[in-house]
């Protein structure tokens, strides 16, 4: 069925593809839009902006989220900023440069046409957000301010303090509220999608559980949009929110949507380390800290021992007894190497026994030199709020002792396979934002996730979905008493009954933690064939263990957070296996995916463009069956593919 992977990339020169596609897309007239229903699942930047824009166009939209309000979606936690090719700084930025940086940052594993379109619409996002009243940072003259981010040579990042994601989401949520008030969008908070309903090969609705009453509810539509984010929480301990999950996307996969590049997960180098086994969530410290902070571990094991026994403070270790390993290994980029490189280097030192806290999994990020060079006040202006936040959490002041940091799972580049129109391999099913795979290849650049969510939601999906719906306005409303709805609801009910019937003794989170340990050890920062095979085997064992030992207390027909978590964990167990399988297949190192077998003599990632310059799209073949791999080859016509080098 490889012919399902038709990317529908428009002909013509790169810069004209989107214009060309827009002019080809069929339209739906305003009076016909009123007859059409669209389901949007998820209310982060992608879901909220898509639902609001579709409602504004006159479609009937139903929008679903698992939290008590659309505003809680995890986009809210993004700190740094949003990229756009405005060239307001007159530093010779352009759509082409943003496109080029994103492809290169993704280690040449994303689609040229999609990424170019992303760069092309980026400017309109900023215009839209300002018009919505988002208080972006301003210069004294009243013009918008910008800052720089990793992996680029221009200043194109717009920001609202360290709360850019929050402000952008509140903007999209406000646009959504306006449509809810206008009656074009109906909002279903505290509802969780548990299955996709496919009729005659087309997406026609969902089964959702009302998380307050516990009842299963049926919703029909002419098209379904998945905007439910990534699957990072497969690893349990991540920077993702506690309720972030991959389930909606996974149910789509099991109904026939291909899942692309699942092994591409981003590990962010600057997170506050794990402090003990009672922890369930990691906190990110902004990438901007690496502009002035220096990363080091002790040169000698005896100092490490003393640190772990609290016999000395880090500040007491003399300069010549410190190993600034990033500056040593990557003299040209130093502490500002990309996220994947910085993460792997920290792991290498900790694996060698130089980790600086009790768990042995932490390195120092030191501002001593920055404070001496810039003075207290300038450091306070730049990083004061981050220092405060670090102090609140750790009770240790970065003014006196270096911060401790360690890498953690942060974002997933992989996701549901989509064509240029953002349509999946199931007609009528679309995927946007982090939930799809399309724009970031093997590694995402900072400040690009917000850009993609809003590009898809405001400017791409509302245009492309019309092409599909233009055939649908004469179709009657989806009948939710159709046998396909019966069947889907029955299957969901069976899943719920099954987990309640286990009556084991172990809480869901305890088993999730075990999955996280397997994933982190074998499918984390450094992967190898044997380890990945071990991971698959261990995940199988854990799955058996889950179905024998999990305890889901309470009942279905009540607010039951343990049931919610149990159903999500069932999916994480399967997602984890597919991630390992995809990592096993990808016999190269690329972006966030590092295979120990494939590295240069200096220990750097080694891509294999000859054999792996493709999107790995996996097709579900049934329970206990191996998924089938389909390949969409990537053709670079406008960019010269090269090796990333940070040493000189």
């Amino acid at each position: 069925m490889a012919d399902k992977l038709i990317s529908k990339i428009p002909d013509g020169p790169l810069a004209e593809k989107w214009t060309r596609r827009k002019s080809e897309i069929r339209l739906v007239s305003p009076n016909n839009r009123r007859k059409l229903e669209i389901i949007v699942v998820g209310t982060g930047l992608g879901g909220s902006s898509a639902a609001a824009t579709l409602g504004e166009l006159g479609y009937n939209v139903k929008v679903f989220c698992i939290s008590d309000s659309p505003r809680r979606a995890h986009s809210i936690a993004a700190q740094g900023g949003i990229n756009a090719a405005k060239n307001y700084q007159n530093d010779n930025d352009s759509v082409y440069r943003l496109f080029y940086d994103t492809i290169k940052g993704g280690d040449y594993r994303s689609r040229e046409a999609n990424v170019y379109r992303l760069a092309e619409v980026s400017s309109a996002i900023i215009d839209q957000c300002v018009a919505e009243g988002i208080p972006f940072a301003r210069e004294y003259g009243g013009y918008l301010a910008n800052r720089s981010f990793g992996g680029v040579q221009v200043s194109r990042t717009f920001y609202a303090r360290g709360q850019t994601g929050q402000q952008l989401l509140l903007g999209a949520y406000a646009a959504l509220n306006r449509q809810i008030a206008a009656g074009t969008v109906k909002s279903y908070p505290r509802h969780e999608m548990l299955d996709l309903v496919v009729i005659n090969g087309q997406a026609k609705g969902i089964i959702a559980r009302n998380l307050v009453t516990g009842k299963l509810e049926r919703f029909g539509a002419h098209a379904v949009v998945i905007a439910t984010g990534g699957y990072g929480r497969t690893f349990f301990l991540t920077t993702n929110a506690m309720n972030s999950n991959g389930s909606a996307a996974w149910e789509c996969y099991k109904k026939g949507a291909y899942f692309a590049n699942p092994c591409f997960a981003q590990i962010h180098p600057t997170c506050i380390p794990v402090h003990g086994d009672q922890q369930c969530k990691l906190t990110l410290m902004s990438e901007s800290l690496r502009n002035d902070g220096r990363i080091w571990v002790p040169k000698f094991k005896e100092d490490v021992d003393k640190l772990r026994k609290h016999q000395i403070k880090p500040s007491q270790i003399a300069e010549d007894r410190r190993d600034y390993y990033l500056e040593r290994r990557y003299p040209a980029f130093g502490n500002l190497v990309p996220r994947d490189v910085a993460s792997r280097a920290a792991k290498e030192r900790c694996d060698a026994g130089f980790g600086v806290n009790e768990t042995g999994l932490a390195v120092f990020l030191d501002f001593k030199d920055a404070i001496a060079r810039l003075g207290h006040q300038r450091v306070q202006e730049r990083y004061g709020n981050l220092f405060d936040m670090y102090y609140k959490i750790t009770n240790s002041s970065p003014w006196e002792e270096p911060m401790m940091i360690y890498p953690a799972i942060h974002y997933t580049m992989g996701g549901i396979w989509v064509d240029y129109d953002l349509q999946t391999t199931i007609p009528g099913l679309y995927a946007i934002g982090e939930a799809n795979f399309s724009d970031h290849g093997g590694n995402r650049l900072g400040a690009s996730a917000l850009m993609q969510g809003l590009a898809d939601g405001y400017f791409v999906l509302p245009v492309t979905i019309a092409d599909y719906l233009s055939h649908k306005f004469n179709e009657p409303k989806t009948d939710t008493s159709a046998p396909e709805f019966d069947e889907a609801e029955k299957a969901v009910q069976a899943r719920i009954d099954r987990v309640f019937a286990i009556k084991g003794k172990e809480p869901v989170d305890a088993i999730h933690k075990k999955l996280g340990n397997i994933m982190w050890e074998y499918v984390g920062m450094a992967r190898e064939k044997k380890g990945l095979e071990t991971a698959i085997e261990k995940i199988h064992q854990l799955k058996d263990y889950f179905y024998k030992n999990v305890c889901v207390p309470g009942s279905q027909y009540e607010f039951n957070q343990e049931l919610e978590k149990a159903l999500r964990l069932e999916d994480f167990l399967e997602i984890g296996e597919l991630m390992a399988r995809d990592a096993l297949n990808r016999e190269e190192s690329c972006g966030g995916h590092f295979r120990i077998e494939h590295q240069t003599p200096e220990g750097e990632a080694q891509r294999d463009d000859e054999h792996f310059m493709y999107v790995a799209a996996w097709e579900y073949k049934g329970e206990n069956q191996l998924p089938e791999l389909h390949k969409e080859s990537l053709n670079y016509q406008y960019i010269k593919v090269a090796t990333r080098n940070y040493k000189d």
Partner: protein, 259 residues
């Protein structure tokens, strides 16, 4: 560290509810308040799953339900009233960023949901805050069509104005202000949105209409009146100032004069 936790248990909106007391031990100082509740729940689930423990008098109310998500103080989901203070004894934090080092070892800690007529309890410590969404739906937006905006730099906004607007926009919609207010007023929440938008030129055309509509909706939904006790400001995890309430009042009065 160890603690006695006196926690509000309520099966659903109709149930009367009651306190139950639990004991937790082996808690680290660096454990967050919500992680401590995770540990309690782990224990309650294991005990509940064990018929022997149940026979010996173990609680059977099951794990404690509470809203939480990002655990880094920005999503606004967590909403616990701890020892008589919204979000507990530390200043300018949400419950998820409250750490056990702020409590005395061996202390008894009382944990309740937000108490407000406008926020009915769903279960245990989980309340229904859709009233906040409804207030924002009444007018907490700028009416702009997607794609119709002019170039972003065509609207100049002085640095200080943008910063002031951002101060108000930092509201996370948690509801601590309502839970803290003796009148159960949502004025700080409404004011934060009205003020943030009305400070900006983009927000001016609808400023009067917005203030009126949001205040009317707030009254309709059963929130109380503001009597300027400033308790909300003290407990706001984002430190949003009551000066924004003054700005809301000005907008509101201006709108009323025009009527």
């Amino acid at each position: 560290m160890e603690f006695n936790l006196k926690i509000w248990r309520q099966k659903n909106a109709k149930d009367k509810g009651h306190f139950e007391t639990y004991h937790v031990s082996g808690i680290e100082e660096d454990t967050s308040f919500l992680e401590m509740l995770d540990i309690l729940n782990d224990d309650l689930i294991r005990k509940g799953a064990d018929p022997v423990a149940v026979d010996k008098g173990s609680h059977t109310s099951g794990p404690v339900s509470f809203d939480h998500d990002c655990r880094e103080g920005i999503c606004g989901a967590c909403s616990l009233y701890v020892d008589g203070r919204a979000h507990g004894p530390d200043d300018h934090v949400t419950t998820c960023q409250l750490f056990m080092r702020h409590f005395k070892d061996g202390a008894t800690i009382t944990v309740e949901p937000w108490r407000s007529a406008a926020f009915p309890v769903i279960k245990d410590l989980v309340v229904d805050r859709t009233a906040f969404d409804k207030i924002l739906q009444a007018g907490g937006f700028i009416s702009v069509r997607t794609g119709s905006a002019q170039d972003a730099n065509a609207i100049l906004i002085p640095h200080e104005t943008a910063e002031e607007s951002m101060d108000a926009a930092a509201c996370i919609g948690c509801g601590a202000c309502v839970a803290t207010c003796k009148n159960g007023s949502a004025m700080l929440f409404v004011a934060a949105r009205v003020s943030s938008l009305s400070l900006l030129p983009q927000g001016r055309p609808e400023a009067a209409k917005r203030a009126k509509a949001m205040v009317a909706k707030m009254d309709e939904l059963g929130f109380g009146n503001c009597t300027n006790t400033r308790a909300c400001e003290m407990e706001c995890p984002k430190g949003i100032s009551v000066e924004h309430i003054a700005r809301l009042n000005r907008e509101f009065l201006k709108a009323k004069f025009r009527d």
